[in-house]
């Protein structure tokens, strides 16, 4: 098989993995090697679905001994199969890296024979890349659940980041859809990685040349929308994972039906992209805004509002918290204002040491006031007094009503609901309504609803 065809098959098979970041580690390039890493990571391009491409994301092989219902590579699926040799993988990585196409390699694999054999092959490829090709760029490797801890150890000494996919949000779902996988098999390597990374960090602090174990930490991913868990359940799980395994990131991947299966949503179902988006927003609130899962969702409201981002939603439930005075509020208070992010907060904190901040100053600092202005005061004065309908209009998340143009031929454009639009917009558009009209109706409905709530 030609290298070109292999690359296509093995990239296509890996594309559902959400993680493609190269962040979390600063390492300068050294003479005799190729490559460095930067803490913030680097996106080298964006694919037509709007996702960042940072790493050469491929599977070692898509030949799989397992039969997970949600996965294109499962044993019983009829797809072309391929496998890279370690050398092919190294040549590709180096060639792409030198040309500044990528920041490094993201190596995952289907289960070839068994987890140990698969991991051995991955270790061999990475060893070759690091030792013979002297590659100093970013490597993210996937640990295969059930692999021998010693192999995971070797993998961690070669890779910058490791990840073990938690796959599904609950054990019940896992045993129903992925009969070959077990919760313990997933959590054990996670625990091992967390413990080894922490240990290696301590050693590095004492002794500069101690071997680094997954210095950029670990991440995980779960599929959402394939199984019935609520958003609250998922968010609590996420929070727990961050605490217990000190994960750097938890990724969510909207389930995309691939084959008919009575245990799964129908093949015609659309991937729940808006829900995925809300989960990421909530994830940001956990990581950067000092929110807890219990503040974002609760038993009475266990799922996200499709039309409001979780932060706006929290603000609406807590009118007693506002308005916040920008000139005196604490960092934590500022972070809770809808429309103000950590960067703006930083700028406000710095600028207000020099001068009193009014609306003009805030604008100059680059704070976006579209939403924030309804929740703040500047020197005791509210910047605007909006009617309830105006406030509601500013708060609705435009993503939920996204409509794009699809070009059918050179002079024929058809408005279509964007993949991330709210379910109602899709429903109306699917039933034959013009997508723009569908979005307008959905927006009107959401607006009325929200105005009443205010």
């Amino acid at each position: 098989m030609e290298l070109m065809d292999k690359l296509e098959i093995l990239a296509d098979a890996a594309k559902y993995d959400a993680a493609c970041t190269s962040s979390g580690l600063d390492r300068a390039g050294r003479p005799g090697t190729t490559g460095n890493t930067t803490f913030a990571g680097c996106c080298h391009t964006f694919s037509a679905d709007g996702r960042c491409v940072s790493l050469l994301k491929v599977l070692m092989t898509n030949v799989c001994a397992y039969d997970c219902a949600y996965c294109v590579n499962r044993r019983s699926n009829d797809v072309p199969r391929a496998a890279f040799t370690p050398r092919e993988l190294c040549e590709l990585t180096m060639g792409f890296y030198r040309r500044n196409y990528i920041e490094g390699l993201f190596l995952s694999s289907a289960v070839l024979l068994d987890p140990d054999y698969t991991t051995e092959r991955m270790v061999e490829a990475l060893r070759l890349l690091r030792e013979e090709y002297r590659f100093g760029g970013y490597i993210h490797a996937k640990a295969i659940p059930g692999a021998d801890p010693q192999l995971v150890e070797r993998l961690g000494l070669l890779a910058d980041r490791l990840s073990v996919n938690i796959e599904l949000p609950s054990e019940t779902s896992l045993s129903r859809l992925a009969p070959d996988k077990h919760k313990a098999g997933i959590l054990r390597p996670m625990g091992q990685i967390a413990q080894r990374t922490a240990q290696s960090r301590r050693e590095l602090a004492v002794y500069r040349h101690a071997p680094a174990f997954a210095p950029a930490g670990q991440s995980t991913q779960m599929i959402i929308g394939a199984t019935p868990e609520t958003d609250l359940h998922i968010l609590r799980l996420t929070e727990g994972l961050y605490r217990k395994y000190s994960l750097k990131r938890v990724f969510f991947s909207a389930y995309l039906p691939v084959v008919p299966d009575p245990r799964l949503p129908a093949v015609t179902a659309k991937p729940p992209l808006l829900r995925e988006h809300r989960l990421y927003q909530a994830d940001w609130l956990l990581r950067f805004y000092q929110f807890s899962a219990a503040e974002i969702l609760n038993e009475e409201e266990p799922n996200f509002d499709p039309y409001l981002d979780p932060k706006c939603n929290w603000a609406l439930r807590h009118p007693e918290f506002f308005p916040v005075e920008v000139n005196t509020a604490t960092k934590a208070q500022l972070l809770r204002v809808p429309g103000i992010g950590p960067k703006s907060v930083q700028r406000i904190l710095i600028a207000r040491r020099q001068q009193h901040l009014g609306m003009d100053e805030l604008k100059r600092i680059g704070v976006v006031l579209k939403r924030a202005r309804y929740f703040i005061t500047c020197n005791g004065k509210a910047p605007v007094r909006g009617t309830r309908a105006e406030v509601a209009a500013a708060l609705l998340d435009p993503n939920a009503f996204g409509v794009g143009m699809r070009q059918l031929s050179l002079d024929d454009f058809l408005p279509t609901a964007l993949p991330g639009a709210a379910p109602l917009v899709h429903q109306l558009a699917d039933s034959g309504m013009d997508a723009r009209e569908a979005a307008r109706i959905a927006r009107q409905e959401a607006l009325t609803c929200l105005t009443k709530r205010l």
Binding site: P31, G50, L256, A351, Q354, R364, G366, G402, G404
Partner: protein, 254 residues
């Protein structure tokens, strides 16, 4: 903001170099005035005000540079990075910013609510943003004995690319040609220099087509059709960068 100097109806004309600009700052101090415009040679004709030629004197430039140095990294960076902007009027903005910092001390750089400070900050940010974009989006090709690329940036971003690519490719020779400004950053045998250039030769090696074809295949294989969202793609990669990215070019019909 009030200065201990009045705005005067005079245009400074300087030679367009950074040193020359520093001499303009010096002039503004010694004359206790803020000029109405500071013009590089190309814009010299367009001024409404009487013009004064400011000769470039390395000794004066060095004094101002040392002064900026004393004001700390955030002031210095804003002036040096902001000066890389390719934008009419940047000199006056930066001169007013520098004067403010000399009068108020380094903390003036944080007065983002002030018009001059925020204008200088905007310049710095525009240049830095574009520099970051090219660090991500430029594509090397094997051209003869070294890697090379042609880019079309709005601002003079080459100095921002230098450190990153030297660290990324420690043992590699490479050249980045800024076709907008006719300048190239050349790194050979561990040494870096800038050169004026009209065009880049040699052309890419024939094998580059294969690499680009591989990369494009990979790039297209990654896309999840059900999630297609080209508006989002364009948000992240504005169209003006596409000309310098091989994967964004339509496939050549064969």
């Amino acid at each position: 903001m009030s200065y201990q100097a009045a705005v005067k109806d005079v245009s400074y004309c300087y030679d367009g170099s950074f040193q020359g600009f520093l001499c303009c700052v010096f002039e503004s101090f010694s004359q206790k005035e803020i000029p109405a415009a500071v013009l590089p040679p190309a814009e010299g004709q367009t001024s409404l005000f009487p013009q004064r030629d400011i000769p470039t004197r390395p000794d004066l430039a060095r004094r101002v540079a040392a002064g900026l140095e004393r004001l700390g990294p955030s002031v210095r960076e804003r002036v040096t990075t902001g000066f890389l902007a390719d934008e009419p009027g940047k000199e006056l903005t930066l001169l007013r910013f520098a004067r403010l910092c000399f009068e108020r001390g380094p903390s003036a750089a944080r007065m983002l609510g002030d018009a001059d400070v925020s204008a200088a900050f905007a310049l710095e940010r525009a240049v830095n943003n574009e520099g970051c974009k090219y660090i991500e989006f430029l594509r090397f090709e094997q051209r003869g004995t070294m890697l090379g690329t042609i880019i079309h940036p709005r601002h003079n971003v080459l100095p921002l690319l230098r450190g990153h690519f030297c660290s990324r490719l420690p043992d590699e020779d490479f050249m980045i040609f800024d076709a907008t400004h006719g300048v190239a950053l050349l790194r050979r045998s561990g040494k870096v220099c800038y050169m004026q250039m009209k065009q880049y030769t040699p052309a890419p090696d024939p094998a580059e087509e294969d690499w680009q074809a591989l990369w494009k295949r990979f790039f297209h294989a990654l896309t999840i059709e059900e999630r297609r969202n080209t508006a989002c793609q364009q948000n992240h990669v504005p169209k003006r960068y596409w000309q310098d990215m091989c994967e964004m070019q339509p496939d050549q019909g064969t």
